[in-house]
């Protein structure tokens, strides 16, 4: 058993549990601060340090194993600002980012956001890319963001990097990634009813015949 400190209070828990499991072992029935339990939803943002090391660290509680003498608190919510926009009516430009998130110019370059990212993303770089209007760079670098909110919580200037990055990715997806011709073609063929008779035939086929068809279908190599 090891000692951990949840919001300053000591609990004994077995070694090897994740922080979430340790909270539950300690008797907390969680409502906030937990979602997917697998590192994808960002609900479980956690700040901790160690009795002998004041350096703050940041983690997803579902993906991090408790350590002896850990002092931790969850950050299930942070009052981060978000701009409202109609994606169909804005342009993929640096100016739009600046208009929607004017605070971005206040970035001090302190790198607190990057240091706090439990996904190890280059958050501050994303902010300078966004400031330059390099939407593609932000999209690629920020892609693995789970929007846990730690970067916004740590920014001394009140920026909300994860929402700025989301704006960039949405702009990229809608306007900058090249359209897929085969997708468009297929949508038109379907609308023109090109597959209707074949589908109708399959729908009305006896199970035996359908099984036969299934067996005979060719399988494209990967």
């Amino acid at each position: 058993m090891i000692d951990i400190y949840i919001m300053g209070r000591r609990y004994q828990v077995p070694e090897g549990l994740t922080i979430i499991q340790a909270l539950e072992y300690a008797g907390y029935k969680l409502i906030r601060g937990v979602g997917c339990r697998a590192g994808f939803c960002g609900a479980c943002a956690t700040i901790y340090n160690n009795k002998n090391d004041p350096q703050l660290r940041y983690a997803l509680a579902c993906q991090t194993v408790v350590e002896p003498e850990m002092y931790l608190v969850q950050l299930p919510f942070f009052p981060a600002g978000k701009a409202f926009y109609d994606l169909g009516k804005i342009k993929p430009s640096g100016e739009v980012i600046l208009n929607l998130y004017p605070d971005i110019v206040k970035c001090l370059g302190c790198n607190s956001c990057t240091k706090s990212c439990p996904q190890d993303l280059e958050v501050m770089e994303c902010m300078s890319d966004a400031l330059r209007g390099d939407i593609a760079a932000v999209s690629i670098k920020s892609f693995d963001c789970v929007m846990c909110g730690l970067c916004a919580a740590r920014c001394p200037q009140g920026l909300v990097p994860y929402n700025i990055a989301l704006l960039c990715r949405r702009l990229y997806g809608r306007y900058l990634s090249l359209p897929s011709k085969h997708l468009q073609d297929k949508i038109e063929e379907i609308a023109a009813g090109e597959f209707d008779s074949e589908l109708e035939e399959l729908k009305n086929m006896s199970e035996d015949k359908l099984r036969q068809r299934y067996k005979e279908r060719t399988i494209e190599p990967p």
Partner: protein, 540 residues
Amino acid sequence: MYPTEMEKSIAKLEATRERRLKETFPRLSLDEIESLLERFHPDFWAEGTRQLGVGPNKGDRAPKELADLLEGKSYIDPDQIDLGKIDYDVDVLIIGGGGAGASAALLAQENGASTLLVTKLRLGDANTVGAQAGTQAADRPDDSPAIHYLDTMGGGGFHNIPELVEVLVKDAPLVIRWLESLGVNWDKEPDGSMHELPGGGTSRNRMHAARDYTGLEEMRVLRDEIRNRELNVLEFSPAVELLLDSNGRVAGAILLDLETNELSVVRAKAVILATGGSGRLHYQGFPTTNHYGATGDGLVLAYRVGAKLIFMDTMQYHPTGVAYPQQILGQLVTEKVRTLGAQLVNTEGEQFINPLETRDVVASGIIRECQERQKGVVTSNGQCGVWLDSPMIDIIRGRGTIARELPAMVRQFTRFDIDITRKPILVYPTLHYQNGGIRIDASGATGIPGLFAAGECEGGVHGRNRLIGNSTLDIFVFGRRAGKAAAQWGKGVKPGSLSLEHIHRWQEETARAGLSSRPASPRLLPDYTRHEQTLASLTT
């Protein structure tokens, strides 16, 4: 880092790799598949299910854990609730904040309805966000909705409802474009064409992905769109009961504020259930890939107002859940690892199943390898598993493929000191998906007037086994359809007075059937606190 014992088995796997790279394990015939499933698939373990004693599916089988809840008591005392005091009054109430609920809300709004979306945790805390491998749509030149139809029927054991599969495959390319127009970043080739991979049971390469964060990308975009349109959302407010009106139509719901325990009354002209799956009921003691709130609530709510469920005796066990390390036991190792080329290998370093068979078949193959053939690898916790030979991917497709295509997987294992670009992954089946659910028609209607359903909580589309990539398709196809149909239905409705009479009737019926001692339901959240159970085996 793997313990020495496991490293010994890895050495055998490495010794056979060069030979295996040239080998394709033969696919099983339909007859071989049927006998493998009957002997090893958990659906066929007789002690796992029982007959329902009450309600629209009386006499049908369901997993025991779910059956208890379907027969369960209401949380509320209908006589204690003042239905004269309406807290929220809207055209369409959407219950559930995953991909299905979010799409339904957007489409209901576009079709002129006022909406309220209520959800149990935060908007987007859902199974959707965990989807990694991708979304199916037949849009390449040598693919077609008809081939997609055939694959889906075959995967479902030919039990799927044809009308539902038809709209699933026909709407699919539209859904991909809709998501892109909202700003979803699909993986693409330099010329803009979609980068598509095969999946277990798909005869064409039609998996659309966003790295291995597909569901996260879909969900964060939809969530942002809901916020931009300023649609009403209530978080931490699960529905605990549906309301009917004096004409027997579904007319709203009772919500529970999880933090203050206050109840509130929503009146609506139509209700859409989008509550997702039930992996957190841990059928037959399996760990699960599902999010914390996946407790099958929508099934319970629908059942109590008389909606029929379909295929409730079949669950999907994903073949490749994590078997080591223990901290993340049962979490998902995406099928994309296999679609990119990784083979499944036993402790002797030999293949035993084609890795791209459908999930039910692969899962049964792994269970057979561990139980009957005793060729699994057993960890120090006693957990059996087989190897998923991930390093093959970079050998076949070039160095850097794993890092590029599977960043979430790499990150997850790196956190536990395992480098999947160099070492294989130990896997065992995990509870993943609810194949069946509330029976719907092609518009998402349930047959109970005013009640619609979309996503993992409905059933019929996937027959008895869902294919990879067809669920994150289903949620958008049927979420959009239900949103539109509910908005249109609402236009013709003049609500009668609200009633909880059906809860009285339910209580009488369960009492007559001798089931009064069933637990209160819906379950809402699992209880992992120590007094219940703390074994890490269930709580990952």
